[in-house]
């Protein structure tokens, strides 16, 4: 690498960081976690009693469960130094103009909203723990599609909500699912009635803003028989010096012949612990796709899963991870085949740079009696320098002899000859590196809606040249 390139890479990019004042929150819970805090959260939200009980039970489970001893380093998390609930404004804004100036400014700096207004069919933007902006196009409403923040979902559709909430990921699933179940707030609640196809993606932007601020959104997506939807979750977050934790739970239910795609671009700031449980149930002939990119955060542990419960159901996971300095992306995917003739494909692409570490951790399970399962897993890792690290931990468990399973992984670096070739065509060294990395993650970007693909490329270019924090 030339000195010029090195200088570019070592440039202080913190001036691009995002940071807003936290003074105008209307409510902040006490720091730390106790049954009192959990009860307060539930009371603040006027929740029915079953939800309060659900939260308290989850808290018990969280307290009794040990920290996972695998994956990334979780030892620095101090659960007592986190705000578990914050309410930034009093009410949900009805239109974009009502969103507070300071918040709009941050979105503007990300270059997101106006340009995409036409494209969006509904925007649920989570600012801190509360949804502050929410709009839903009229034709969606007419079709009977529900797209609300999860708290409103609980209030307005108590029956559907209670029937599905916590069924895919019960509070005792893992320590962080228990934490989320105890203190969740915000997130999206989506219900698509039978046979309805939502043409435009539903999307929500999430941001963390206060230091030591916990973000525990809870998303529940139910897609009824023969319906289809694409949900997009994007995250950006400002830089703060103290650790922050983001522990979301996303539950998806894809009923018979339903089709769901869930796209995430995760770009938390580099002090955030991103510990997320995402799982989908796919019934007969249903198709579930997780398109998942992890770029930011200090440590991400996230393994989107699909439980293939009905015959001929399909799962596709495309996972991209980028780990820059001081970051660990422990990401992957799980496909659990419980029914015959089910299909899954997992593609993972990871890039490590400046001593960052990417780990692919995956599970492919074929249950006894799930005959004629087909699954392909492919993991490719790119190491951009000699200090960076990559790991692959795929678990393949096959209990049926009719399964056809393949798994491949490669690790490599960018060849000097590739860089040389591109530079001989007039690109700078940085541009050449960028171009190769873009090409490497292309299986992911090509699945994104156009605007996101552009944003993703912009983000990667920024990351590649030193990082946005």
């Amino acid at each position: 690498m030339t000195t010029e390139t090195k200088e570019l890479l070592n440039f202080d990019y913190s001036k691009y960081d995002f940071k807003d004042s936290t003074d105008n929150y209307t409510y902040k819970s006490e720091k730390g976690l106790s049954s009192q805090v959990v009860q307060d959260i539930s009371r603040m939200k006027n929740e029915p009693e079953w939800m309060t009980r659900f939260r308290l039970k989850a808290l018990e489970h969280f307290d009794s469960r040990p920290m996972p001893n695998w994956g990334g380093d979780l030892s620095e998390i101090d659960f007592n130094n986190i705000y578990y609930y914050m309410k930034p404004t009093d009410r949900n804004s009805q239109s974009w103009e009502d969103v507070p100036e300071s918040i709009r400014k941050t979105f503007d700096r990300l270059g997101i909203p106006e340009a995409e207004q036409k494209f969006l069919s509904g925007v649920g933007a989570q600012y801190e723990s509360e949804v502050v902006y929410h709009s839903l196009l009229k034709d969606l409403e007419d079709k009977g599609v529900v797209f609300l923040d999860t708290d409103s979902g609980l209030r307005k559709y108590p029956d559907i909500f209670k029937k599905y909430f916590g069924t895919v990921i019960p509070p005792n699933d893992n320590k962080f699912a228990a934490l989320n179940s105890a203190v969740w707030s915000g997130g999206s609640f989506v219900y698509v009635p039978p046979g309805v196809h939502v043409e435009m993606p539903l999307q929500a932007y999430f941001r963390i803003n206060a230091a030591n601020m916990g973000q525990f959104e809870r998303t529940l997506i139910i897609v009824d028989e023969g319906a289809s939807v694409h949900y997009i979750e994007g995250c950006t977050a400002p830089v703060y010096s103290k650790q922050s934790i983001h522990s979301a739970v996303v539950e998806i239910i894809a009923k018979k012949s339903a089709k769901v795609r869930y796209t995430t671009i995760q770009n938390w700031s580099k002090d955030v612990y991103n510990l997320v449980t995402k799982r989908a149930y796919a019934y007969e002939d249903a198709a579930v796709e997780w398109i998942d990119a992890n770029i930011g955060s200090k440590l991400t542990m996230k393994y989107p899963s699909v439980y293939l419960l009905g015959p001929r159901s399909r799962a596709e996971v495309i996972s991209v991870a980028y780990a820059g300095r001081g970051r660990h992306q422990d990401a992957g995917a799980k496909a659990v085949h419980m029914a015959p003739h089910t299909y899954s494909r997992i593609t993972s692409k990871s890039v490590s740079k400046d001593g960052g570490r990417t780990s692919y951790r995956g599970l492919l399970h074929v249950a006894k009696g799930a005959h004629h399962v087909t699954s392909h897993v492919r993991c490719d890792a790119l190491l951009l320098d000699e200090e960076s690290r990559t790991d692959t931990y795929p678990y393949v468990e096959i209990n049926d002899d009719t399964a056809t399973i393949s798994h491949e992984a490669t690790v490599g670096k960018i060849g000097e000859d590739q860089i040389f070739y591109l530079m001989s065509r007039g690109l700078s060294e940085v541009e050449a590196y960028n171009m190769i990395v873009m090409g490497f993650i292309e299986p992911f970007t090509k699945e994104l809606p156009m605007t996101y693909a552009v944003e993703m490329n912009r983000l990667m270019a920024l990351e590649m040249s030193g990082g946005v924090g």
């Binding site: 001893n69 695998w70 006894k368 005959h371 890792a381 190491l383 951009l384 320098d385 000699e386 200090e387 960076s388 690290r389 990559t390 790991d391 692959t392 931990y393 795929p394 678990y395 393949v396 468990e397 096959i398 209990n399 049926d400 002899d401 009719t402 399964a403 056809t404 399973i405 393949s406 798994h407 491949e408 992984a409 490669t410 690790v411 490599g412 670096k413």
Partner: protein, 435 residues
């Protein structure tokens, strides 16, 4: 005395009138055994299950006199005058017969107890600084506390051994605990072959468990070359714990083949630490499970030196209710610049009840490397059967051809023609028997 305890360890020390330094090592290892959890890697906790193993009824101490060799095994053990043989029947040593060339070339080939007595200065350093530490694995700790037999092979610098050295273990009695520790030291530029074989007398139907605990440590000097193999066809009441490790010096070459065919439960942990620049290791595992056999096979390549190369080829065929688990790991450390490593784990399931798990992991800490792995689990393709039948084979023969073909891809990696033939013969035999 049945079972294993601290008392057993003490009794063994007394029985063998062992020196204090060794007694101390044994007792310390016993302590480690008692306090160490079975699985120390958080990666594999969910994939470790030793519930089928019972140490309580074992006779762990070596019997003073070896029992007779079962007649049906004679053919396997048939000695050739060229190769060296270490023969062990149950827990006692039956015979050590070094080939003529060994004395001429100043090669030491003896059982471990004799080596401790007669070559203390040579062997003690390898006890003081073990290739596999007792703390790393509960089962190694157990072995260290109780090992009673094993081979010490010492090949001086630049010595080439033409004929193979063999260590043959025969289980004749029931409820026996066999604890073996073998140490191989290969001098700079030396070359040798070491083959371990295990057989049982015919007591397939008996439920009384026997235990085979084996630890093999290999020290390869600069440019040394070792071909080593472990083939066993114990009966299905034997539990086998194996830990093998090689420490590879500069430009050394190691080929090892593991072919566990018998036993009720086999847990093997094989690792090559490629310390020296340019060192190479190739591990071939060929497994054929039937009945209710279980195989838990972990293989690790650790690339520490620059430009080290390694391959792991694991191939398994599982029928009936058998179960196989391949845990492969390639580690390339910060210093392993220019390393090239490949891991492959392929299984064929022949029955709906059979199962195979694969965990092919990579941990890569530097970028100028080539590293990849592949894993697959599949069944016999009916179209292939159909094709072979159109060419005049009956269905059974067609299946057998396909299974043999599947093994062939792994057997091709076996370097020594003799060895390859032997492994192929065992696989054939098991296939025939299984029908």
């Amino acid at each position: 005395m049945a079972g294993v305890s601290r008392e057993t360890v003490k009794e063994l020390i007394k029985l063998r009138s062992e020196p204090d330094w060794l007694a101390e090592i044994r007792l310390k290892a016993w302590e480690t055994f008692e306090k160490t959890p079975l699985e120390q890697s958080s990666m594999y906790v969910r994939h470790t299950d030793l519930r089928s193993v019972d140490l309580k009824t074992l006779e762990a101490l070596p019997s003073p006199r070896s029992s007779n060799l079962p007649a049906e095994l004679e053919t396997y053990i048939k000695e050739s005058s060229e190769s060296s043989l270490h023969l062990q029947v149950d827990s006692s040593l039956a015979k050590v017969s070094p080939a003529a060339e060994l004395a001429r070339k100043k090669v030491i080939f003896t059982d471990i107890s004799t080596a401790i007595k007669q070559h203390r200065d040579l062997i003690e350093p390898y006890f003081r600084n073990r290739a596999i530490k007792a703390e790393e694995d509960k089962l190694v700790a157990l072995n260290t506390a109780l090992f009673a037999n094993g081979v010490f092979l010492y090949v001086p610098n630049d010595v080439h051994l033409e004929a193979p050295t063999r260590s043959v273990k025969v289980l004749n009695k029931l409820g026996v605990g066999m604890f073996n520790l073998s140490i191989i030291v290969m001098g700079n530029g030396s070359k040798a072959t070491f083959v371990e074989e295990g057989y049982s007398g015919d007591h397939q139907t008996n439920k009384i468990q026997s235990l085979q605990s084996n630890v093999l440590e290999i020290h390869l000097g600069e440019g040394a070359e070792l071909n080593t193999a472990d083939i066993q066809s114990f009966s299905n009441n034997v539990v086998i714990f194996t830990n093998r490790r090689a420490l590879s010096g500069r430009d050394s070459n190691l080929n090892w083949v593991a072919c566990p065919l018998g036993g009720q439960f086999t847990r093997a942990n094989t690792s090559a630490i490629l310390d020296g620049p340019g060192a190479n290791a190739q591990q071939v595992e060929v497994v054929f499970g039937s009945g209710e056999q279980q195989f838990d096979l972990a293989s690790t390549l650790s690339h520490i030196g620059q430009h080290t190369t390694g391959d792991i080829y694991s191939t398994g065929v599982f029928k009936d209710k058998s179960k196989g688990m391949f845990k492969g790991m390639i580690k390339i450390g910060k210093t392993g610049i220019g390393s090239n490593s490949f891991l492959s784990e392929h299984s064929l399931l022949l029955n709906p009840q059979a199962r195979a798990d694969a965990i092919p992991a990579l941990e890569i800490e530097t970028n100028d490397v080539k590293c990849s792995h592949s894993a697959s689990v599949a069944q016999i393709d009916e179209e292939q059967i159909f094709y072979l039948m159109t060419r005049g084979l009956d269905e059974q023969t067609a299946r057998s051809v396909i299974v043999k073909g599947f093994f062939e891809s792994a057997l091709r990696k076996v370097q020594l023609p003799d060895l390859k033939e032997r492994v192929a013969g065992f696989l054939d035999e098991k296939w025939e028997r299984g029908r």
